[in-house]
Amino acid sequence: MSLAGIWVILIPLICGLAAFAVGGRSARVIGLIGAGLTFLLSGLLVLHVWQSGVWIYQLGGWDVPLGISLRADGLSAFLIGMTGAVGLGISLYAVRYFEDEDEALTPDPSPDPSAPLRTGAGRGGTEVWLPGTSYWPLWMLLWASLNVLFLSNDIFNLYVGLELLTLASVALIILQREQAAIVAGLRYLLAAFLGSMAYLLGVALIYADAGVLDLGLLADAELTGTATQVAGGLMAVGLLLKAALFPLHFWLPAAHSSAPAPVSAALSALVVKGAFYLLIRLWFEVFESAGTVSVEQMIGALGAVAIVVGSFQAIRQARLKLMIAYSTVAQVGYLFIMIPLAGSFGDPEASWRFEAWTGGLYHALSHGFAKASMFLAAGVLLSALGHDRVWHLAGSASRFPVIYLSFGIAGMSLMGLPPSAGFVGKWLMLRSAVESGQWWWVVILLVGGLLTAGYVAIVLSQAIQHDVEEHTEPHPVPKLMTVMVFALAAMSLLLGLRAAEPLELLEIGAPFQTLMSMVED
């Protein structure tokens, strides 16, 4: 059990390689086994951290600072658990999704006229490109790199994880070889590399200052040197770019919306969280001493603008997937409001800092489930109706009740309406803002919820709208896909009903050890 932390990285990696080696239809089986195992191992790791506290593993038996260590505290376990659950949902969905895709492509390589977006498919004469085959290795790689990211305790190792994550993500985006996806993928790749470079430069500077790379040692060093300060700025901007915080979100809408649905879901729900995780990890451990109120307020302000602009852009989108992608832009803004709240504003010993920290992470959790469900729902609609134009969804609510129900539940979670996980996050962040007297964040957090309601409700009301036109019979959708959409949405709801345990998990090894005892509720 204590080695779950290792296997949670190795299993997806092995399965990914195996799936790649075997190829063909069997890749699916291997991928599925990998997903199941990784999910179980993630669960084991969470359980282990829950029961025995912070888990540290020295790779190869070498001690820090010489060796490299893996470390799972509450935060890591929390995110690994989320990745495991969302990942399993996405995997199960993907089984049927790509089976469907591949079947559509295999017998007749010529482009399907009803799906104009698939123009790139079937190029290359006799050789048929089956996205489903390539999906599994890449998806396993993505999962493994996420887990690497969450478990690494070494800032350079984190860089490697980050790069792996980017490579896997871009490869997944262009899976279907459509032109839009390739353009988006290329832009994403370049942007992400730019971010990585800024991060890497930061790593070099920190090393120059501290001479160590281990996160724990860095946190203990309480760095305040100029190099660290510059590194802080560089790493922050690099990670903001990777996390697509406004106005550095330029690559996100296209990339997230042009990928296949299971990929979009993974990107929006998980990959964005990777960069976010890294930023808060660094910010509250390495830069605790070097961070300033002005930087934090600025990041928060960008988050606030992201909420407003993202929501406004979301409502202006004609395609559902783009709308959801812009919703991610807005929701990422929420995550970053946590930084000024939990940061160095006001009394450093105040309990609100811990509340904001848990609140922001809970929001990340809720967004993970909700956004995955939303993208998967959009995928169902896209493959059933042949389009995802919001204006033309009229009347589809009666044909896809569960899909829209899930969409609504996920929307509730995004809005922060109780009972949902989003509410818990919003509640904690709001409490923190009120307690610390940072009223400007209160306003944006509340207004943001209403703005979110604006686009979620419009999709739903569009769907409920009485059907005026005659529609062709929709393409049948496998049940499992619908079930997974619902399951993920339901998770975002259930996590809001019983938040005590996940929140307790977050306390394990959290950077606010001194504050936790003071938290009153």
Binding site: L194, G233, T292, F312, I315
Partner: protein, 587 residues
């Protein structure tokens, strides 16, 4: 045990009323039994000893039932009149396709009327009062004629205003009393800081029903348009509900309220006289009778006013009130029913003669001629007046007989109108069925009124009517009235012409009021009224507009398109990076 008897009094008409909607045999049975609905009440009105108040602690806000000496006389009157009217109506409406509707409202109104008499707490009283008021609307508009509908409208508007006054008064009274029991209410009104307001509200609220001027406007409209049987109970029994309300809940006899007494006595005397004067100008005998009722209620209210001003007088005056109410109720009922019977006579001389004789007898009784019920009632009233406040009796001693002259003349005109215009006017072919209850009522009125004081052993004995002074005061106004009638008769006999050239329309002061209201009231809108703008709805509409507009045309706004440009984004990356580094350094 007694409690259930009281409840039976109410349950009987109520049950019959709710049998009617079922239709078929059940409905027919209910209509057949309608005349007997008030029999339990009649029986309960007979015992000489009043039993203790019975409390039903589960009903309404805790109801209590019972009668005292005064209200028992009211119960006797009401039960008798409803029973007679019930028999009468059974035949009057024999051919009426809507008899079931009449019977339904008739029985409900009866329930209310009986309920308010046996209620000993203000909530039950008010509930019954409301039941009576709203059900009587169905009686008023029964014929559905334009006249009836207008009368109904005026009636219901006034009734609602009355309810408003009562509710206001009741709240304050019950709060001050801390109870809903009538006896505590009376004390509570006196204890309250707002006792004048309460008294004003209750006077006005009950005054509307009692036809007190100037709240009487509905009465001359509503009483005549109702079917005859309903008119009889409206004018005979229900009008007394307002009076009973005053007697039961106002703290009369417990404290001197000369101000209210004076106000009421002035209003009542105006009613007593103006009722006669306006009544004289009417052509419809039923309207005339309605005005007569206003006038007669003025008489009774005068004594209430005496009680208000002088508590000592109330003991006797209350009995006077009750006896006068008994007299007026039975006699007025007989007069109204007589109008209906007169219509049924056809050309049969004997029938016509019988009706005219009967009507004359009761008319004389109403005028208060010696040996009639009126004489006794008036004498009883005067007993109260004598003990009244200093100086009042002098005036009242003269004014009341003068009003009686008016009544005599009015009754003369009534008989004249019946004789000349009403005999054999309409015919339902139910002469016998209607005549018999009427005759019985005429026949019973005298013994009931004469025996009631003896039977109930009240402080006023019938003998007062035979005291020389009273005998004389009951005689001369009638004689003078008869003389005036004789002169008029002689005049008409010489040169036939219209004797009352002025016609005051029924409803008198209502007419200018209606006119004024029609001027100020805006016309009813045909379509939807414009609504004030709603900022929130506008906001949601504009948000939706943003979406709809984007769906039609452009996708991404220009600003957003700018953000999506690679070079712009790169520059922003650079800027933000620089700013962050600067902020990090600048602490």
């Amino acid at each position: 045990m007694m409690l259930y008897l009281w409840l039976l009094v109410l349950a009987t008409p109520l049950t019959l009323a709710f049998m009617i909607p079922f239709g078929g045999v059940v409905r027919r049975r209910a209509i057949d039994l309608m005349p007997f609905a008030a029999i339990p009440a009649l029986i309960m009105a007979l015992p000489r000893e009043q039993t203790a108040v019975e409390v039903a602690d589960w009903l309404l806000l805790g109801s209590s039932f019972g009668v005292d000496q005064t209200s028992q006389i009211f119960l006797l009157l009401t039960a008798t009149l409803w029973t007679v009217a019930g028999f009468y109506a059974r035949y009057y409406h024999a051919d009426d396709a809507d008899i079931h509707r009449f019977a339904f409202f008739f029985l409900l109104t009866m329930t209310g009327n009986l309920g308010l008499i046996v209620a000993m707490d203000i909530v039950t009283f008010y509930a019954s009062f409301a039941l009576m008021t709203f059900s009587a609307y169905g009686l008023v508009v029964h014929t559905r004629s334009a006249k009836a509908l207008r009368a109904g409208k005026v009636y219901i508007v006034m009734a609602v205003i009355g309810e408003g006054f009562l509710l206001t008064g009741m709240f304050m009274a019950a709060y001050s009393a801390g109870s809903t029991q009538a006896e505590f209410i009376r004390e509570g009104i006196l204890d309250s800081q707002r006792s004048n307001l309460i008294i004003g509200c209750l006077l006005a609220g009950f005054g509307i029903k009692a036809g007190a001027i100037p709240l009487h406007v509905w009465l001359p409209l509503a009483h005549p348009v109702a079917p005859t049987a309903a008119s009889a109970v409206l004018s005979g029994a229900m009008i007394k509900a307002g009076l009973l309300g005053w007697i039961t809940f106002l703290p009369i006899g417990e404290a001197a309220m000369p101000g209210w007494g004076t106000l009421l006595v002035v209003i009542s005397l105006i009613a007593a006289f103006s009722g006669v004067l306006i009544g004289l100008t009417q052509d419809d005998p039923k309207t005339l009778l309605a005005y007569s009722s206003i006038s007669q209620m003025g008489f009774i209210a005068t004594v209430v006013a005496v009680g208000l001003a002088e508590p000592r007088a109330w003991g006797v005056a209350a009995i006077g009130c009750a006896l006068y109410a008994l007299h007026h109720g039975l006699i007025k009922g007989a007069l109204f029913l007589g109008v209906g019977v007169a219509h049924e006579t056809g050309n049969d001389r004997n029938r016509q003669r019988l009706v005219l004789i009967g009507l004359t007898v009761v008319a004389i009784a109403l005028a208060g001629a010696p040996l009639t019920t009126g004489a006794l009632a008036k004498s009883a009233l005067k007993e109260g007046v004598y003990i009244g406040p200093e100086g009042w009796s002098v005036w009242l001693d003269w004014l009341l007989p003068v009003a009686a002259i008016g009544t005599t003349v009015l009754m003369g005109r009534f008989i004249w109108l019946i004789w000349r215009h009403e005999l054999g006017h309409v015919e339902h072919g139910q002469y016998r069925g209607m005549m018999i209850p009427w005759i019985i009522l005429v026949g019973l009125a005298f013994p009931i009124v004469w025996l009631a004081p003896v039977w109930f052993q009240v402080d006023v004995s019938p003998a007062v009517a035979f005291e020389p002074g009273n005998l004389w005061t009951s005689t001369w106004p009638v004689l003078i009235g008869a003389a005036i009638l004789g002169v008029i008769w002689w005049q008409i006999a010489r040169t036939p012409r219209e004797i009352a050239p002025i016609r005051i329309p029924a409803g008198d002061v209502l007419i200018p009021l209606e006119w004024a209201l029609a001027r100020i009231r805006p016309p009813e809108p045909d379509e939807v009224v414009p609504r004030p703008p709603d900022p929130v709805a506008a906001l949601s509409a504009s948000w939706y507009g943003l979406f709809a507009e984007a769906q039609q045309g452009s996708r991404t706004s220009r600003l957003e398109g700018w953000f999506l440009r690679w070079d712009v984004a790169g520059l922003l990356f650079l800027t933000i990076g620089m700013v962050l580094i600067l902020f990090m350094l600048w602490r």
